[in-house]
Amino acid sequence: MIEFQNITKMYRVVKRQAGFGNAVKALFSREYETIHALNNVSFQVADGEIVGYIGPNGAGKSTTIKIMCGILTPDSGNCIVNGRNPWRERTAYVREIGVVFGQRSKLWWDVPIIDSFELFRDMYKIETKVYKKNLEELSTLLDLGELLKTPARNLSLGQRMRCEIAASLLHDPKVLFLDEPTIGLDAVSKIAVRKFIKKINKEHGTTVIITTHDMQDIEALTERVLLIGRGKILLDGNIEELKRRTSTEKRIDIKFVGAPPAICAGMKCQEIKQNQMRISLDPHILSVPDAIAYFAAHTGLTDISVSDISTEEMVAALYKEYDI
């Protein structure tokens, strides 16, 4: 159970104009600007949930994660995870969480992965039996095998990320924090990582908090998303609901032979290429079956597909709506 209560975190940033004159001036007097990274933020996450945490760059995602990991101390408010306060009981607390920063490695650079893992074993005081079992399970699931003997610096990003995730799960954490875990990964690795996270959540009941800019991560993993912007939680809800809320428009892609079809009321042409067309449809004016019938009757139709707007577009629309 994660409880995040009325947390506020401010940063003081030095304001300086460009140019040599201003640089000299800044030596003597400074102007500071206060930035509310988090402004009275509250939310709750139940055990075993997977929650996607989204928002544009600089919205306060990392700050939230860092507070929950015990790295940062907020200016005010309280946070309780597994019955503990992350910054007051840091050592006892971090024993029960796993953290993966996509941008930052926690493995030792020059030593083989297995050596890093053994260090983690001693660091977390994991019992030999548990360690062996977890290591075996993780290396099978994440296909580590030969990688274990290789130093971290010789691994590709995708390989290393698999090792990072394994490293953060060796001690059976109750909560797993993932900060952009799929950044820079190729399609195959991304899918492998997503599958694995889902599996761990299902089998061990691990609570997962994930921040990402990759909406496919969100779609594949989470049911609930939190949208943060300018230091505030703007939305908290189910992803399908959000989509419906943002837009009821349907998208129709058609392929045809011969002349492109004329457009009728309720449709909008978005893109037209040779023998292909993308239309957005307002189902309140013209229903989907009617639209399909219309195209079938008026065009040399070869293919048609109907879809909701993508998560990507939904999020972009949300960012626009909230002006963040």
């Binding site: 790295i71 940062l72 910054w87 971090v94 030792w108 020059d110 030593v111 260090l119 660091m123």
Partner: protein, 258 residues
């Protein structure tokens, strides 16, 4: 404990990867330290005593400070480069580990090349013990060892203060070297040589005199007060405000953007 030992071995291995460089740096430390040794030699070619302390007694001072400093700096090497650890964001990953923070900072960054400095200190103290004209007994031997150990802790605390300041600012903190490297330079002579005001400062603010001047008075039989004997142990009190300062700094740690 096992974990810290492992962490230390990794550091040792990586330092030893470049064996030549390791020994050359140690040798360099050893040789450069001679310059300060010679400066004492030259001064004593002109005068017989500094503030009534003889050549042998000044050498004793010099070697105690040298040894305390070299061990303190070898242990606190990670603290000396702490601003780099903070600014590069590497400190984040120490905070998410269930272990003591200070241990995590110092163990992987111990600078073992300081052994050069330490060796010089040992040589000089071997010279100084007979030269100082002190009538040695067990109490005095214990006091000498206490001077070195408490001095090590004091220098370590000074490095800790310097490290803590990097929580509050990302500016260059070289002026703080006055307290670390500066203290090593000052400490070569009995601190009373700098006048009563400096002595007061070095007693009550940065208690360098407690591990050097006052116990030296006891060793040379200039004072037999128990206070002088206890001075090095009293200097350990300094560690408490230092640690408190570090805890406060930790709370205002800002992390680096990602």
């Amino acid at each position: 404990m096992k974990f810290y030992l492992r962490l230390f071995t990794i550091n040792l291995k990586s330092q030893m990867q470049y064996k030549m460089s390791f020994w050359m740096t140690s040798l360099g430390q050893f040789v450069t330290a001679f310059t300060s040794f010679f400066s004492i030699q030259f001064i004593f070619m002109q005068v017989d005593a500094v503030d009534q302390f003889t050549y042998g007694q000044v050498l004793l001072c010099f070697s105690v400070i040298m040894m305390a400093f070299s061990i303190g700096e070898a242990l606190g090497g990670g603290l000396a480069s702490f601003s780099y650890i903070v600014n590069s964001g590497n400190f984040d990953r120490m905070l998410i580990r269930p272990r003591n923070i200070i241990m995590q900072i110092i163990i992987p960054h111990m600078d073992l090349t300081r052994i050069g400095l330490l060796v010089q200190g040992i040589i000089v103290i071997c010279l100084a013990i007979p030269l100082s004209g002190i009538s040695w007994n067990i109490g005095k031997a214990i006091l000498l060892i206490a001077m070195i150990i408490c001095g090590t802790i004091l220098f370590f605390c000074l490095f800790l203060i310097k490290a803590t300041v990097s929580f509050f600012t990302i500016e260059s903190l070289d002026f703080l070297n006055i307290f670390t490297y500066g203290a090593r330079q000052f400490g070569r002579y009995p601190l009373s040589a700098y006048g009563p005001k400096v002595l007061w400062l070095l007693t009550f603010c940065v208690p360098l005199a407690l591990i050097q001047y006052y116990p030296l008075l006891y060793l040379t039989d200039r004072g037999s007060s128990l206070w002088y004997f206890c001075a090095p142990f009293l200097s350990l009190i300094f560690a408490f405000p230092c640690y408190l300062f570090f805890r406060i700094g930790l709370r205002s740690y800002k992390s680096a953007g990602s």
